[in-house]
Symmetry: C2
Subunit: 98 residues, 2 copies
Amino acid sequence: MLNQLCLCAQIKSLNELRYTPAGLPVLTMWLTHESWQMELQQRFLAKMEIQAKALGDLAAHWPYQPGSMVEITGFLSQKGIYHSRPVLHIQQIREYKG
Amino acid sequence: MLNQLCLCAQIKSLNELRYTPAGLPVLTMWLTHESWQMELQQRFLAKMEIQAKALGDLAAHWPYQPGSMVEITGFLSQKGIYHSRPVLHIQQIREYKG
């Protein structure tokens, strides 16, 4: 079932790289987004902060610094059993060059 | 700048139709989503509840009842100045037939 977010965003902050008990590298971060979207033929300023998560090699060899603009494709899932806020699980990422 | 979510979800609850001061119909709702996604070649159970919003004719002539499965395309924006949680602004919706 469909669950795909394509988002151009700025990396606001990166947390320390951590490892799961199974040894998987995990990097979490906050992204900020601001864009003009169309809603009922009017321009609407969409603004958002969202947490994102990279796993594995992408997390271990993370090439983007805070302030970088990136284009991400991924899926949303709640942060945890007791945290229903959605987190973006990064599947593809590249630098945004405008 | 890119901000597009494609989501298949179930309508959990619908709020009462309301109108903005300018007379625009607004319908807000909660959606639930559950799907298997691929993450590092493993299956991951993505689960989420997210608020969504329809405006205008779509809100005024809303055809879906709680329990309906729908496929939505839209963009994310924070709920308000003091509520940073993302809300899905519905641009396209259709019944999900599996």
